[in-house]
Structure formats: C-alpha cells, structure tokens
C-alpha cells in the first residue's frame, strides 16, 4: 500500500514533478502511516487535493475541497489505515466548516465561515507557493549535479611565514653577552683594589681608641677572606701603625725579629 493507490491512480499529480526531491521512503512499516507516505500533514494533503481541482488556488472551491478531504479520510478508514490524529482533527474542523458554509449567512457565527474558508485558502496558497518555489529551486543547475567545480584544484595555500626581526647590533651584542658570560678570559679584571693608607690610618686609630691593651697588628685588619686584599691591608695597616707612632698616637712593640708586631694607645 502506498499513496499511489489512493491518489495517484488518477495520475495528475505525480511526485516526479518534484524534480530532485526524494519521495518519502516507502517501507512496509511506513505504509500504515499516511503522513509518512506522501503528505507532510493534513495541510499538505489538502493542498494536493486542491491542486487536483486544476484551477488556480485563488479560485478553488473550498466546499468541494472539504468533500474531497472527508472522502479521502473515509476511504482511508475503510481500508483500516491508521491515521495520524491531526488528519482527524482537520477532518472534524472541515466538517464543521462545511456545515457552517452551508448555513445562510445571517445564521453564521463570528468569525464567519467565509472568513475561515478564506484563511484556509490563504494558507494553502502560501504552502503551494513555497512548494513550487522549492521545486524550482531544486531544478536549478546545482553544483555537483548539473555543474561541476574544478576536480583537483591546486588550492590557494596561505603559508604563514614568520619574518624574523633581528638587527646587527642585537647580533653583536648577543655575541658579547655570550663571551662575557662564559669565556674564562673575562676574569682578567683589573688589580684588586688595595686598602688605602688613609683608610688604614683611620681604621687603626679608631680601633686604638677602644682598647688599652697591646694588640697584634693583624687584629686591626678588616675581615677579608681574599688573601690578596688581606696582604694589601696588612701592608697599609703596618705603614699606618708607623705613621701613628711617629705622630705619637700609638706605641709599637716587637719582641723578636719577625715576631708579632703589637701596638696600643700611648699610656
């Protein structure tokens, strides 16, 4: 069973008309459901029926259309087809519309049956227009069916290329940085600074001020780990001690040759 047995036997509406449109697939299961067979709902069915009147949708007879629809539904029920509820709702509404249309005008309720019929007609026109438009659209020269694009386009490749920025100075500076960072030659720093005589004098005299005891010269040296600087400090402090002794600000004492040199504040 398919839609053809009911409607298309009369043959004036062929689904072939729908160029490029698939007929809803017809499986045995779907045969029981009208809406799956050919019509997308009652309005769609009505439109098909209306078209069978072979007149412009603007001049269809709504009364005739209602009869056709109700006949159709009756036939379907006789064949024990299971109809979707909205087809039956539409049938009931159309039956009401028909009876209203048959009433004399002054007995009609608001909105009048004519108005209801007009609305229905307008809806059918709109659906009809879109169906036709769909068919015309599908019939156009379509890519992949009627016209073809280049089979193997080379493609427009947009290679994102990075342009690296770097200038001469940055380059040379970088080399300097590397050399400065790693080359052992970089240790050729200037001579270690010495402890000046002035600072030795001020340091030694300041320290003599806080003690009366004899103290070894080494005790007056600043606490440096660096042996080179220490030696310089020793020399400066020795000269400072001699100078302070000459000025009478210190007393020097040495017990033996090369023995420890001691000094203290004059008593």
């Amino acid at each position: 069973m398919n839609d053809g047995t009911l409607l298309h036997s009369s043959g004036d509406i062929s689904l072939d008309e729908w160029n490029g449109v698939a007929v809803a697939t017809q499986t045995d299961d779907s045969a029981l459901y009208l809406e799956l067979d050919g019509w997308a709902g009652p309005l769609d069915l009505l439109l098909d029926l209306a078209r069978r009147q072979k007149v412009d949708l603007r001049s269809i007879s709504i009364l005739a259309l209602v009869d056709q629809y109700l006949d159709y539904i009756e036939q379907a029920e006789a064949l024990k087809l299971e109809l979707a509820a909205d087809y039956l709702v539409m049938a009931a509404w159309l039956a009401y519309l028909k009876s209203a249309l048959l009433l004399p005008k002054d007995e009609q309720e608001e909105p009048s049956a004519e108005e209801l019929a007009l609305r229905l007609q307008l809806r059918l026109q709109r659906l009809g227009a879109m169906r036709e438009a769909a068919a015309r659209l599908m019939a156009r020269d379509r890519i992949g069916r009627d016209v073809f694009l280049r089979g193997a386009p080379e493609g427009l490749e947009i290679a994102r290329r990075t342009r690296w920025r770097c200038d001469q100075f940055a380059l040379i500076e970088a080399y300097g940085r590397v050399k400065a960072r790693t080359a052992p030659a970089v240790h050729m720093v200037r001579e270690r600074p010495v402890m000046t005589l002035e600072s030795a004098i001020s340091r030694v005299s300041a320290m003599l001020g806080v003690t009366l005891e004899w103290r070894q010269l080494e005790d007056f040296l600043p606490p440096h780990a660096d042996p080179q600087l220490r030696r310089s400090a020793l020399a400066s402090s020795f000269v400072a001690a001699l100078e302070l002794a000459r000025l009478g600000k210190a007393e020097l004492d040495q017990d033996e040759v090369f023995g420890p040199l001691r000094l203290r504040r004059p008593q």
Binding site: R126, A134, I143, D146
Partner: protein
Amino acid sequence: MSAPLERALEAALFAAEEPISIDSLSEMLGGAAKEDIRESLSHLVGHYEERGIHLVTRGGRWHFETAPDLAHLLRREREQQRKLSRAATEVLAIVAYHEPVSRAEIEAIRGVQTSGGTLDVLMEAGWVRIAGRREVPGRPTIYATTPEFLDHFGLFSRKDLPGLNELRAAGLLDPVEEAFEALMGDGEDDPGSGTGDSAD
C-alpha cells in the same frame, strides 16, 4: 594574449578550492584595484561564456564551473548526491524566501511541526545558518541561508531566487493574517495581529 591581471585572476580562480570575493582577489594580487579586477572579471566572463567552463559570481564571490549543458557528460552515478526529503526542500525554500525566519514561522506555513532533523540537515549541508534571535517574547532563533546556498543553487544573489518578485507582488510571502486583513479591507475594527510574526 590576455592582460596580466586577467591571467592572474584566471589562475587564482582556477586553483581556488572555494569561491573568492573581489576583496580576497585584490589582496591575493598584491592589492590590485578592485575596479580593475571587476573589469577583468567581466572580460573573463565574456571570454568563457561559450566555452565548456564558465566564470560565475554567486553572492559576490566568484568561481569557475562547468557549463550546465554539459552536465550529462560529467554526471557520475557513483557520486549521486544525497537527495533531500521533501520536507527539507520545503523548509529550505521557506527559509530562502522569508529569511530570516523562525521555526514557528516555518511551521505556520507548512501546517506541521518541523522536526529538528530537517533544519539540522540543511545546516549540515551548509545552506542554512542560525541568524540570531528575533527580539520578540521568547526570543526565537531565526534562520537564514548561507553564501554556499547561493553557490550550490547557482544564484547570483538572493534577489535571483526564482519567482521571488512575483511571489512578493502577489503577497504570498506575507503572513496569512496580513493577507487576510488586506483582503477584508480596513473596514473592520479588528486591530489586527500587528507584527505578523506568525500566522495562526
């Protein structure tokens, strides 16, 4: 011997994997003047007019395609396109002729609920896109067609939709209520449904 710009355009459009706008062409050709590009393109259109391949423009983008009358030579069975269901073709037409359009509006025209799958199929095909929301209560999503839609159906622009002007002139793109009131005349004191957002 064709002009250098024409040659360059030919090559670029030939090699392109998708249609190209004049802006992109200009950029590609090192900033060639768009006026010159336009002129060269129209030369090329003329040159190819009667050949086996045509230069066409769809929605402002250009591409080469085979001449439609040669379809029979090129159609390949193995590559049959998946056919659209009738519901999908109707929905596509409704979107194209009414865009932007909400699902409720589509359903009002078709008289049935549109299964979500139908719009999905059209979006998957690349022909329909979500075009935002309508600023009415409920803020429904609205749909419109894409540039690929124009490409696929060989439309110069949306104005090129078959029968668009006739449909518009006949009021067939207006909602039922609007058409109804127009027909009943404004003698009625019915304030009308205003926005015509959806029929029924």
